[in-house]
Every structure is written in structure tokens, then in C-alpha cells.
């Protein structure tokens, strides 16, 4: 046993691994990438809180298997940080190749954190054949992730926007700004809430309020300065101090995520819900989870929109396979299916004008099922603040409200 202990310590802490330089895919030759990708298994780590998206991922997996002979396993996450933690743990344990994450659905602080630590493979995105269709000019959000330039380290695959929804038959006049939301809560105590701030939708709500209340929005595009943080966020805390006493459960508990928020609306516990998926309400109506009298809307003055990306960790086992999957998800067919409101309703990242007329027609699915006002981004999309704002706001929120 005495001799065992040093061995064990060595096992746990022998953390200067013999790093063997892994043969990186030769990026220039796509045919070569395809050839190497065949037969690989891609462990795609993706948030799994929405059944419609899970089914879309399952469909994509089937297609990729059929076309390219790549097996895709959806590793279901309840929070993307789980996969980030896994990559960091592997780095800690010295596993610089043969990692367990091949492809990760990511954006915002998680991307910033991995890129900053050099834990991402790349740049690789401009090598994808389908990336030429991406609307990098018209949709700048797909090249700057929470203001951080993606620099080819992540491939865009979806655009999301904060959309509110409510039951017309119960709430004839929903509030159309966050300020109006506060007034609504005061006249209807207990009927308004937002998700836990450690969930991205909850954090987004805080950022939405901050954007509406801050004097000069351009400061949010830079990392917060310690000196200014308290002053700039003071209106947000004042807003929440007023909201919480009249919020659902008196602001003492918060739904875990968008799905729970939706369930609360379905159970009539609250009057207003919101989501990062513009088609959330219509999908739920189709499934029978929400009554047909639910409608969606975007706040006057716009709401936060951001792009969702796919990244490949530095130690991924199937880098080529992951690239092929990302390329398939950028294809007109995959993007059109994603935008179909009866499938998912996620907005495309492609520029329709760059597509052939045949491909363009794929996007023209008749939009009869949806009760969502079609969202055109230019009209209402607000850019995400710098990623540090999100982490700082969450920290400050926890300091203020979690310890009481």
C-alpha cells in the first residue's frame, strides 16, 4: 500500500503528458476530408432541452450516415457548459488527443472560454464547401459571437431571437417593452417570471432589460470595466428589485429553462413566456402542449438575436467527421428543413440570394401552421453584448439575490 500511494498520485497528477502532435486534417482537400471522415463516429455534444431540435439532430444524423458513412451520436446536454467542462477536464488529465467531444453546439461565454484557452481546433470553417452560401454580409451576427470574432473556429448553423408569447384569450394586451412588463407584473402580481439566470435564456432576459435601460448601448459591445460596471447596471438591479416582489413565487424561485417557462404558461401559472426559438409557440401548439390561442411577438424596439455555432475541440477524435457534419448542416437542404416551422423554425444563416433557384425554393414552405409573426431580423434584431457582460451580470445577480 505504501508503494501504491505515490503511484496513485502520479496517476492523478501526472499531468505533463507526452503530447504527440496529432495529424491534423489537411484542410485544403475536401475530398480527402470526406475520405477520412467515412467510418468515423462523431460525438456531437448538444443541448437537448427541446424535443423538436433533438428530432432535427436525429434526422441530420441519419442523413449524414446515409450520404457520408459517418455515425453521429447526439450526446445530450442539459447545459453546454457540461461539455466545456469535459474538454477542460480532459486537458487537465493530459488527454490531448482521442478526446470524447468531437463537435459541440456552442456560443457566447463558452466559446470565448474555450478559444481563450486554446482548446479549439481551427481555423477550419472557410474550408467547408457550403460556407460560401453563408450570409456573412447581411447577417454579421454569424461572424461575431457575442462581439468576439469567430475567426473560423466555429461554424454558424442557426440564428435565434428572443420572442415573447402569451395566450390571447387570457391576456388581451401583452406588455410590449420590458418596462411595460414590469408595470404588468405590478398590476398582475405573481404572473410574470424569467428563467434561472444560470440558464442562457434567463441571462438573455437580463441582457434584454439592460439593453433597454442603459443610456449608451455601445458600451455593451466592449468588455465591462470594473469602474463602470456598478453604475451601468444600476438601472437593471433597480428594475429587478421592483419586479421580484411582484413576480411569480415573489422572485424566490425561477423556472429552470425555456421548457419549464412554457410549461408554466400551459399550466396558467404565468401570463407571458419567451423563448430563443421563434417557432417555440407554434411547435408547442402542434404538439398539444399549448392552446391554439397562443400568439408570439417581438418587443417594440427589438430583442436580442444571436447565432448558434458548431466548434471542434482541439483534442477531438473525429475532426474530419465533425467538419463534414458541420458542412452538411450548412447545406441548403439542412438549413431549409431547420427553418420549417413544423420541424424546428430556426432561422437560416444562409443568404438566399447566393443559392440556386432550386435550392431557394426549398425555403418557400407555406407558413400556414405558424401563429408566430414572421420575424425579419433586420427589423428587430439587437446585437448581443460582449460575453463578459453575461458572466459579470450572472455573478452580480447571484451575489444580490441568491444569498438572501
Amino acid at each position: 500500500m505504501h508503494r501504491l500511494v505515490p503511484c496513485i498520485i502520479a496517476f492523478i497528477l501526472q499531468l505533463s503528458p507526452a503530447v504527440s502532435q496529432e495529424t491534423s486534417p489537411r484542410l485544403g482537400d475536401w475530398a480527402d476530408v470526406l475520405a477520412r471522415a467515412r467510418g468515423q463516429t462523431v460525438y456531437w455534444n448538444a443541448w437537448a432541452g427541446e424535443q423538436a431540435i433533438n428530432r432535427y439532430i436525429a434526422w441530420a444524423a441519419q442523413e449524414v450516415s446515409k450520404r457520408y458513412g459517418i455515425k453521429v451520436e447526439h450526446v445530450k446536454l442539459s447545459d453546454t457548459s457540461e461539455a466545456v467542462a469535459k474538454i477542460i477536464t480532459e486537458k487537465a488529465a493530459g488527454r490531448d488527443k482521442g478526446g470524447s467531444v468531437d463537435l459541440i453546439w456552442i456560443n457566447g461565454p463558452n466559446f470565448a472560454s474555450l478559444k481563450d484557452k486554446g482548446l479549439l481546433f481551427g481555423p477550419w470553417v472557410d474550408k467547408l464547401p457550403n460556407y460560401r452560401f453563408a450570409d456573412v454580409i447581411g447577417k454579421p451576427v454569424i461572424t461575431r459571437d457575442f462581439t468576439l470574432p469567430t475567426e473560423g473556429f466555429e461554424s454558424p448553423w442557426d440564428i435565434a431571437q428572443l420572442v415573447f408569447y402569451y395566450d390571447r384569450s387570457r391576456t388581451p394586451a401583452p406588455p410590449r417593452t420590458t418596462e411595460a412588463l414590469l408595470q404588468y407584473a405590478k398590476t398582475h402580481p405573481g404572473r410574470i417570471t424569467y428563467p434561472d439566470v444560470q440558464n442562457f435564456l434567463g441571462a438573455t432576459f437580463l441582457k434584454q432589460v439592460l439593453i433597454e435601460l442603459v443610456e449608451d448601448r455601445s458600451v455593451l459591445q466592449e468588455p465591462p470595466l470594473d469602474a463602470d460596471f456598478a453604475r451601468l447596471t444600476a438601472p437593471l438591479w433597480a428594475f429587478l428589485d421592483e419586479l421580484h416582489p411582484v413576480a411569480w413565487r415573489s422572485g424566490k424561485a425561477f423556472p429552470a429553462n425555456s421548457a419549464e417557462l412554457r410549461q408554466l404558461l400551459a399550466d396558467r401559472e404565468i401570463d407571458i413566456a419567451f423563448s430563443f426559438n421563434p417557432s417555440e409557440a407554434s411547435l408547442a401548439i402542434a404538439r398539444g402542449e399549448l392552446p391554439a390561442s397562443v400568439s408570439s411577438y417581438v418587443l417594440d424596439g427589438g430583442t436580442i438575436a444571436n447565432a448558434n455555432f458548431l466548434a471542434i475541440p482541439y483534442n477531438a477524435s473525429s475532426k474530419e467527421g465533425a467538419m463534414v457534419v458541420a458542412d452538411f448542416l450548412l447545406s441548403p437542404q439542412a438549413q431549409a428543413r431547420k427553418q420549417d416551422p413544423s420541424v424546428w423554425g430556426g432561422l437560416t444563416v444562409l443568404s438566399l440570394s447566393k443559392l440556386s433557384s432550386d435550392d431557394r425554393r426549398l425555403f418557400e414552405t407555406p407558413n400556414t401552421a405558424t401563429v408566430v409573426r414572421p420575424v425579419t431580423e433586420a427589423e428587430s434584431a439587437l446585437p448581443e453584448p460582449h460575453a463578459r457582460w453575461m458572466t459579470r451580470i450572472i455573478q452580480a445577480w447571484l451575489q444580490r439575490y441568491a444569498s438572501k
Binding site: E73, S78, A85, A92, A93, A253, A259, D267, R268
Partner: protein, 568 residues
């Protein structure tokens, strides 16, 4: 004592192997948590010892409240579970009701914590079954009341879920321990000198019984002090109990949080030690007070209150169990079911059909892992026990204490360290490692479950077989094991149930790549599609229930023409 001749190499090695299985992962895991807690973790840039991470931990928002909550939840749920068991035994021992309670609680033991928490939430939430019933009579309740019940800040619903699970566990542990202390005689004596049956049981049987179930009680305490899975579903959120907080730090993208998580894990361990010490202090106090009460010699005093409490507890327990099971069943097949209707508009298998891809693979994994872990555990247990037979020794006492190591050291305190070790050895994220990790927690239960029937086996059967020329191996495989079939299957079923319920080991060792119905249920429970969550909870409960059914019916069929063989 010399090993008897003919003892194979395997039997000689088996205690060492079991020791390694039980202690080494725990010890390595603890080491892998302790060092980073004090700053030493070169790969993450921590090369020297420091207390800085403890400072950050102590400054974390809500930490103080987390700690207090943790201790409160741990002590309250253990006290309530134990009190429930004592009340039920005192009031109902040797009655027909007792037989009924025994029959209803046994299957409940097999329902995992996660399913119980999910079921309870479906019942007590403001939009849950209870308020839907009430709303039928109170028209004002056409919208659910704005009450914080699930995730309440005092942790009451978490305590409720823990008691629903732990009370049946302690109940069955007590049932198993009772024969060893021969209660019938002393009860009869007490009653002849005028004690009512209830008081007699508490004064004469309980003190001796408690000594027998003390380790299970401490295991319940340790579990409740560090619970993660059920706490994620119904526990407080702002702030959460410490186990959940550590779990969340572990999955933060900031490296610094890993050190805080490690310090937090050590704090969980300290709290478990503190809680256990507190518990032992409470025991002393109770012994002191109890002795005075005993010496007073009152025959009837308090019997009335105890029986009222016992009935109340029994009815409450049964009601919530039935309602929870009913809620899971209804939601799993519910079509549209708006509040405040007490029943769905229609029943449908749509959730099962559209999501089969979501649960078939996790179901299959759970089946394979549970089957493999429980069979391995059974093999080890039989080897250990057979070794005792060979050597005519009794290693049971030290083995019993050893077995409780993985049950008493909180999972959240050593699994993070074990995870890093496995990744460093490239042993993570495959099903074999998950099976091995489950074995650590399954083996103790299988051993505890099998050792008593084994000890009570009449050794003369074996001696007869040997006298007729059978080798020890043949006597084991042809006589003892077949005759103990019922006990073997029950032990395997217990092990299977334990395996199916494991959340943290599956998630951490499997790196998310080996999903089971349990990990999927927890991932979806907080706000996922309620119907799918119900389906997962149902599958999660059906798996162990199926195993117990096998354990009950296979012996009945195999021994249908062997009247003398015990089949239960």
C-alpha cells in the same frame, strides 16, 4: 488458521479484490479532490498549495445558507425516515396491517430516488394533482396558486421525497435485522408485566434493533447530506444544497471553478463528518433520556399518541406513494391535460411512439449495466461467503464495515477525483467503466442482502453432500446455490435496483456518452416535456420492479414440485 486444502486461488484472492473494488476508487477519488482543494493541480495551473480557493468558496454567494440547508435537509429527512419506521413497527408489528405495509413498501424500495422526486413534484406542485383536486371545489383556483412548493427554499419537498424513499429502505433493513434479536420472547415478557404492545416494542425491541440498523441509518444520513439527483429535481435552487452547488461548479467553463468545486467537495465531506458526529451526539442524548423513561416503568403512557401518529404517518406515506405513481402513469399516457382538470382529456401512446429513439438506448444501457453489475456483485459476494464456509471463519464483521465505505463517503466528494483519474487512464466514457463504477455501490447492497440467508442456510446439507463424496465446489454449485435460488435472485434484484438508480457515477464516469433512463430523466426533469419525463420515470421504476418480479416468480416456477424449498 490455515486455509483449508483445495481452496482455489480465486477464493484466496477474493477479499483483496473486493477491498480494491471498494476502497481504492474511493481513496483515489478523495485524493483527487483533496489536492486541488488546496490548490495543487498542475494541469490547471495550480502548482503550489494555497488556501485561496477556500477563500473563494467561502465568498461564494449563498454559501452559508447552502451549508445550513444541507445540514437541515440531512438531519430532518433522516430523523423523519427513522421516526416513520419506528412508529410503523411500534404500532403495527405482528398485525395484519403490518403484513400489508410490508407488501406495499417492499416494491417501493426498488423505485429510484429520481422517479420518486419526479412523481412527488407532479403531485404537490401548484399545478399538480393535489391542487387540481382542490380546485374542483374552490372555483377561485381556476389558475394554480402562486405558491413556492417544489424547489421551496426550506427544502421541504426535497425532505419529503427523501423520506418517501428512505423510510421504506430503513423499514426493510429493520425487517431483515429483527430475527437476529429474537423480539417475540422479550415482547411476550414485557407484555406479561403489563406493557401495551406499542410501548413494549419501543422499550424492549427498539434499543436492540437500533444497534443492528445503525449503519444503514448513517448511510441514509450521509446520502441525504450530499444528495444531488433528487435535489436537482425538487430541491431549493437559490441557493441549492451544497452537493448540487459542487456539481454545478464542476460543470462551469471557468477553470477557477474546478478548484472551488474541489474545495466544496471537501466541505461536503466535512459536513458529512460533522452531521454524523451530531447524529451520534443525538443518539447519546436520546439514550440518556430514553433510559430515564425506561426506568420510570410506565406501561401505557404515550401509547395513544404513538398510535395516532403511526396511523397518520402510514396513511400519508401510502397516499403520497399511490398519488405519485398515479401521476407518473397518467402523464406518461396523457394527451392534452390543462389545469385544473384532474384527468387528461384523452389517453394516448403518442409520447412513447414519437420519442422511442430518446429512451430505447438509455433503457438498453440501464439494463446491461444493471445486469452486469449485479451479476458481478453476486459472484463476488458468493465467493466471499463461500470462503468463510471453507475457513469456518466469519469475516462478516469487518467486511460489513468495509462495505459501508462507499455508502457513507458522499459520492459528490470522491467521484470528481475518480473521474479525472479515469480520464488520465483513458478509461472513461465506456460502458465497462460505468459497470465497474456501479459495482462499487451495488456490491455492498448485494452482500448485505445475501449474507443473512447464507448464514441461515443449514450447513448439514453441505456436510451431507461432502459425506457422499462431493467436492466443495460441487456442494456449492449443486446443493447450496440451487437451494438459495430465491435469496440469490433477490440479492441480484436489489443490486439491479441500486444500479438503475445511480445518477452521478453514470454521468461522471460515462462522460455523458453512456446515457441511462436515470441520467435522461434528471436531464429532462427540470422543465423538459412533462410527458417524456413521466415516461422515463416510469421506465426507471419498471426496470427494478421487473427484476423483483423475476426474483419472486422464478423460484416459484423452478420449485413448483419442491414443497420443502423456501421460495421467498
Amino acid at each position: 488458521m490455515n486455509p483449508s486444502k483445495g481452496e482455489g486461488l480465486w477464493l484466496r484472492l477474493v477479499p483483496a479484490v473486493v477491498f480494491i473494488i471498494l476502497v481504492v476508487p474511493t481513496a483515489c477519488g478523495l485524493l483527487g479532490v483533496f489536492l486541488p482543494a488546496f490548490g495543487y493541480f498542475p494541469a490547471l495551473g495550480g502548482s503550489e498549495f494555497t488556501l485561496q480557493h477556500w477563500r473563494l468558496l467561502l465568498e461564494a454567494p449563498g454559501l452559508f445558507r447552502s451549508v445550513i440547508l444541507t445540514i437541515w435537509i440531512g438531519l430532518a429527512s433522516t430523523v423523519l425516515s427513522l421516526a416513520t419506521v419506528v412508529l410503523l413497527f411500534a404500532q403495527f408489528h405482528d398485525t395484519r396491517v403490518f403484513w400489508l405495509v410490508r407488501r406495499t413498501l417492499s416494491p417501493l424500495l426498488s423505485i429510484p430516488h429520481v422517479a420518486i422526486a419526479i412523481g412527488l413534484a407532479l403531485v404537490i406542485a401548484p399545478s399538480g394533482l393535489l391542487f387540481r383536486f382542490v380546485a374542483q371545489f374552490l372555483p377561485d383556483l381556476d389558475v394554480p396558486p402562486d405558491l413556492l412548493i417544489v424547489h421551496d427554499r426550506m427544502g421541504l419537498s426535497l425532505i419529503g421525497a427523501l423520506v418517501l424513499k428512505e423510510a421504506p429502505f430503513l423499514f426493510l433493513m429493520s425487517l431483515a435485522a429483527l430475527p437476529q434479536i429474537n423480539p417475540t420472547q422479550s415482547l411476550a415478557t414485557a407484555r406479561t408485566i403489563g406493557y401495551t404492545p406499542t410501548i413494549a416494542w419501543i422499550k424492549v425491541v427498539l434499543p436492540r434493533l437500533y444497534r443492528q440498523i445503525r449503519l444503514p441509518v448513517l448511510a441514509v444520513l450521509a446520502y441525504s447530506l450530499s444528495v444531488v439527483d433528487a435535489a436537482l429535481i425538487v430541491g431549493p435552487t437559490t441557493p441549492p444544497p451544497l452537493g448540487v452547488a459542487v456539481f454545478k461548479w464542476m460543470s462551469e467553463p471557468e477553470l477557477r471553478d474546478r478548484f472551488i468545486a474541489a474545495a466544496g467537495a471537501v466541505l461536503v465531506l466535512c459536513i458529512t463528518l460533522f452531521g454524523t458526529t451530531l447524529w451520534i451526539g443525538l443518539e447519546r442524548l436520546l439514550i440518556l433520556l430514553g433510559r430515564r423513561w425506561l426506568e420510570l416503568g410506565s406501561r401505557k403512557q404515550g401509547a395513544k399518541a404513538i398510535s395516532i401518529a403511526a396511523y397518520a404517518v402510514g396513511i400519508l406515506l401510502l397516499t403520497f406513494i399511490l398519488l405519485s405513481a398515479g401521476a407518473i402513469l397518467l402523464w406518461a399516457f396523457a394527451g392534452n391535460w390543462p389545469y385544473p382538470n384532474v384527468a387528461p382529456d384523452f389517453l394516448t401512446a403518442a409520447t412513447w411512439n414519437t420519442n422511442s429513439r430518446q429512451f430505447l438506448w438509455p433503457l438498453f444501457n440501464a439494463l446491461i449495466i444493471g445486469g452486469a453489475a449485479s451479476l458481478l456483485a453476486l459472484a463476488f459476494t458468493v465467493s466471499l461467503l463461500e470462503r468463510d464456509v471453507h475457513r469456518r471463519t466469519n469475516t462478516q464483521d469487518w467486511m460489513r464495515n468495509l462495505l459501508y465505505v462507499p455508502l457513507i463517503v458522499p459520492q459528490i466528494a470522491f467521484l470528481p477525483g475518480m473521474q479525472i483519474l479515469l480520464i488520465a487512464l483513458h478509461l472513461d466514457s465506456n460502458i465497462y467503466s460505468v459497470i465497474a463504477a456501479h459495482l462499487v455501490f451495488v456490491l455492498p447492497y448485494v452482500y448485505l442482502s445475501l449474507s443473512d440467508p447464507w448464514a441461515h442456510f443449514d450447513d448439514r446439507y453441505r456436510q451431507t453432500a461432502m459425506a457422499m463424496g462431493a467436492t466443495p465446489r460441487r456442494a456449492l454449485f449443486r446443493v447450496r446455490l440451487p437451494m438459495l435460488l430465491a435469496a440469490l435472485l433477490t440479492a441480484a434484484a436489489v443490486g439491479f435496483a441500486v444500479s438503475v438508480g445511480q445518477y452521478l457515477p453514470t454521468l461522471l464516469v460515462g462522460a455523458g456518452r453512456v446515457p441511462t433512463v436515470t441520467t435522461e430523466a434528471v436531464a429532462l426533469a427540470s422543465g423538459g416535456d412533462r410527458r417524456l419525463v413521466a415516461v422515463l420515470a416510469m421506465l426507471q421504476s419498471l426496470l427494478p420492479l421487473g427484476a423483483f418480479l423475476v426474483a419472486v416468480f422464478v423460484p416459484l416456477i423452478v420449485f413448483r414440485n419442491r414443497r420443502g424449498v423456501r421460495t421467498t
